[in-house]
Every structure is written in C-alpha cells, then in structure tokens.
Amino acid sequence: MSDYLYIYRGGANREGRSPEVMQQVMQQWMAWLGELKAQGHLKSSGEPLEDTGKVVRNKTMITDGPYAESKDLVGGFSIVTADSLEKAAELSAGCPIFEAGGLVEVRPIMGM
C-alpha cells in the first residue's frame, strides 16, 4: 500500500450557481470523500486552498499569483492510500470535480 496525493485543479466555476446547487455540490463531495473513508482509502481529507497567493521566484522576485489560469488553479488536496497508481487513479473516478470541468492530478507520494 502506498500513499497518493490528489490535487484538485479547476472546477471552481462560481458564476450563476444557485445556493441550492452549491449545497448539492458540497454534499456530493462529502459523500464521495465519505465513501473513500468508509473503504479505508482516505488517509487525509486534506484542505482547501484560497485562490490568492504569492509566487516567489527568488529573493527579489515576489509577485502576486499563482499565475495559472483558473481552470488550472489548485483548489485543494487530499491523500489516499491504494495498492497502485492505477488503483489510486481509478478511485478518483467518482470525484464531483469532473462535473464542473475540473480534474484530479494523482501523484504518488515517495516512500522509503
């Protein structure tokens, strides 16, 4: 078993979503993460990220950022446990982010 980082990119389109729809999206996420947890795959629910920040290139080059387009913006992350990278990728299939046009980047966390 190894750990994998899910990086959630994009899918935070906020225009014109009704309160009801936003609540439904939240509940879909909770249900999906809850299911991963119930199956013993969720090591950490993770955390959301603000969409503001700074990009530091060196001591004198600190700018407002991140510069990625909003469709690539990292909105948050979770950590899952799975047998293989393939399995970890497969587990992300139910993520509600896809319905909002976002994507999940699955990255193996280096072991010993």
Binding site: R17, S18, M30
Partner: protein, 424 residues
C-alpha cells in the same frame, strides 16, 4: 428531514436581508456577492472538514466578517445604508453595528423589510413574486424560470427590471406603521398568496420545486405573524388557508408520482400538524370585523380538512362560502368551483347547468380543469361519449406531464366504459 436540507437556500434570504440593511438598498448586488462568497467558502471548507456544529451560525459569521472587510475597504469610495451610515464610518461603532444587524431578532425584521420592499407599487404582481423568490428565498433565476415555464432570458429581464426599481427605492420599507403600511401589507399578502398558488396549482412539472414554493410561502407568511403590525386578521387568514391546503400536499400524488383527485386521496396522508396549526390560525383570524377572501378560502379548506372521508364533506357549507367569496371576488374559477360543489350537493345535472351559466366562461377555455370538471359531471350523468370529448379537450390543454397523465387516465377510463357498453 435533515436540518441541513436546503440550508444554503434558506439562509440566503436571511443573509441578503441583513446585508442589505447594512449596505443600503442601492448596494443589493454587493450584498448578493457577499452571500455568494460565503457559500463558496462553506462549500470549499465543509467538503473537506465536514459540516460544522452550527452551520447557519457559521454562514452568518462568515458573511458578517466579509461585510466588515468590504466596509473598511470601500467606505471612502462608496456610501452605505442611510440608516447606519455614521455607525459604519468609525472603527469604534462598526463591529457592534454590524453584529447588531445579524442578531436573530433584527434579521427577522430585515427579512420582513425586504419582503415589503420587494412589493413596490411600481412593480406588477408577477415581478414582485419573482423578486421575492430570488432575493428573499434564494432561488436562482434559472430555477424560477423553470418553475414558471418561461425562458431564462425572459425571467432574467423580469428580475433585473424589478431589481432596478428596488435599488432606486432609496431605503428599505419601514415597518413603523406609516400611512402606506396597510396598503403595502396587502400587496405582500397577495404576493405570498400567488407564490403559494404557483406551488400548489402551478404549471411547472417539477413537483419538488412546487412543494418548495408552498413551504417558502408558509415561511414568509409566518414572518408576518411575528410582527406587531403585520399580524392582522387577514394575515392569520392567509396563513390558515396556506396551512390547510398544504396539509393535503402529501395526498396529492400517489406512490407512482401521479396526481390524485380530492375524492381518491388517502386522507391519512394529510399532515395533521398543519391542519391543527391552520385551524388555530383560522380561529385567530376571526378577531375583528374584516372578512377577506383569505378568510373564505381558509374556511373552504377547513371544511375539506375536517372531513374524514369525502362523503363526510359538508358541501352545503362549501357552496355558501363560495357564494360569499363570489360577492367579494368575481372570478370564473371561483364560479367553476362553486358549480362543482353544487353538483356534489344537488347532482351532476345541476352542476352542469351551473357551469354553463358561468358568465365569463370564455376565460376558462384555456384551463384544463374546466373541461375536466365537465367531463367528470358527464360521467356521473351516464354520458361517457360526451365525457370523453371533454377529457380530450382537457388533455390538449394540460400544462405538464403530471396533468397530462392524470387527464389521459380519465379519458382512457371513459373510452373503456364506452367499449364495454357497446360489446354488451
């Protein structure tokens, strides 16, 4: 029901109301942005960390903090509420003033002020209802458009125009009993009544949205009862009629989601709590000398609610209530309902006579249940061919799949009885 069901939508109206009080009516869009932002934060954090212990309080606190940020950032470039202006300009008074606006009792008054402000005399009824649904009840333009079966862009225009009037009204309507209070109160009652009816009889096929409209109307109606000046006998009557009719909602569709006629409903499904509440409101509404159409409609609903079986219905009382209603509110639909009640009392031929005598009958020609009523009475009079023809017209006018299904079922039954008779 899970207490967090529709939480966002239910809190939206309360938050927009408190924020509009702080920011001023001209900043309605800013208030809406702050609310949207609070929901975004809730969505993003709760999905990882779970729903907090007091979710409504969490949302309010987030909106409150955002409001203070906005005021600090923009108080030199923007004017805020004329009522709170001075309090917001000093750091000493800003936090307490904003906190006060978010106290439960102030929010309740803010919601009422919003609702009264949405019923601006320059707005037609339909625009008032759309604006209330959007601003006070948290429904999006798209959701409202689909319920009223109009295009998104048409509804967007209607709501934008209504917001334009709202924003120019300078300040929220004051609830201190100024001279235009009772006139405005009756517009508000009318808007709540229309909202309820849209849910109860409306054209939309999506029954969940329709039930939501009914319960929003009940919620707004109860706000009136909690205010000293707004809790008039007619406000009680309005709430009585909504409770007593809403009590029957669980019986209106069967397990397959099909509409059921009043006579076929399983009355054990009717909501006893709402009936009891409705009857107690009806009692309260009898204080004073005023007899509004709401009183009469509530009276009619109470006769149905009290009948354990359709056979137990006191049709005589219903007929006389409809007659009283006609004397204060001339409407072909009321006349149609009166004729149906008469047929229950004096037989189908009398009912048909009464329907044919309705003066304004042309106005019912696009109403499917006019033809359905004729069809039912023809069935009872033993003329299935005529009945089938009426049901055919009714099916052609059905406004959604549920109505079409209901009316087609009656048509099929008629045709069956015709073919049975012909084969005998």
């Amino acid at each position: 029901m899970d207490p967090t069901d529709h939480l966002f939508r239910h809190e939206a109206g309360r938050m927009v109301a408190a924020l509009t009080r702080i920011f001023g009516v001209h900043n309605l869009a800013l208030a809406e942005d702050v609310v949207q932002d609070a929901f975004c934060r809730a969505l993003e954090t709760w999905k990882y960390r779970g729903i907090p212990e007091n979710p409504a309080g969490w949302l309010m606190k987030t909106a409150k903090n955002r409001a203070m940020d906005v005021i600090r950032r923009e108080r030199n470039v923007r004017t805020f509420s004329p009522d709170l202006g001075d309090l917001l300009s000093s750091e000493w008074t800003l936090a307490p003033a904003v906190a006060e606006a978010f106290e439960a009792h102030s929010i309740q008054d803010d919601e009422l002020r919003m609702m009264f402000s949405c019923c601006h005399p320059r707005l037609p009824d339909t625009a008032q209802v759309a604006l209330i649904l959007n601003v006070c009840c948290g429904f999006s333009v798209k959701e409202i458009a689909s319920a009223f079966l109009v295009s998104n862009s048409a509804m967007e225009k209607r709501i934008e125009r209504a917001k334009g009037v709202f924003v120019k009204s300078e300040r929220l309507f004051q609830l201190d009993g100024a001279e235009d209070f009772s006139e405005r109160l009756s517009s508000v009652q009318q808007a709540i009544y229309l909202l309820f009816n849209e849910g109860y009889h409306g054209a939309s096929a999506i029954s969940s949205i329709r039930t939501d409209f009914c319960f929003e109307a009940l919620r707004l109606g109860e706000l009136l009862l909690r205010h000293r000046l707004a809790s008039t006998p007619s406000s009680y009557a309005l709430n009585a009629l909504m409770c007593l009719n809403a009590a029957r909602l669980p019986g209106r569709v069967d397990q397959c989601g099909h509409l059921t006629a009043l006579g076929e409903q399983d009355r054990s499904l009717w909501d006893r709590r709402l009936i009891t509440l409705g009857l107690s409101y009806l009692e309260e509404s009898a204080a004073g000398t005023q007899l509004s159409p709401f009183h009469l409609e509530a009276g009619i609903a109470s006769v149905h609610a009290r009948a354990k079986r359709i056979e137990d219905t006191n049709w005589g009382e219903i007929v006389s209530l409809y007659e009283l209603l006609l004397s204060v509110q001339d409407s072909p639909i009321v006349e149609l309902n009166r004729a149906i009640a008469i047929s229950q009392l004096e037989g189908s031929e009398r009912g048909l006579q009464e329907i044919r005598a309705i003066a304004d009958r042309e106005r019912l020609m696009s109403y499917p249940f006019y033809f359905a009523a004729l069809g039912e009475l023809e069935v009872k009079s033993g003329r299935p061919e005529q009945a089938a023809a009426q049901f055919e017209s009714a099916v052609g006018l059905a406004r959604n799949a549920a109505e079409r299904e209901f009316l087609s079922r009656r048509l099929v039954e008629c045709r069956k009885s015709i073919s049975c008779r012909n084969t005998v």
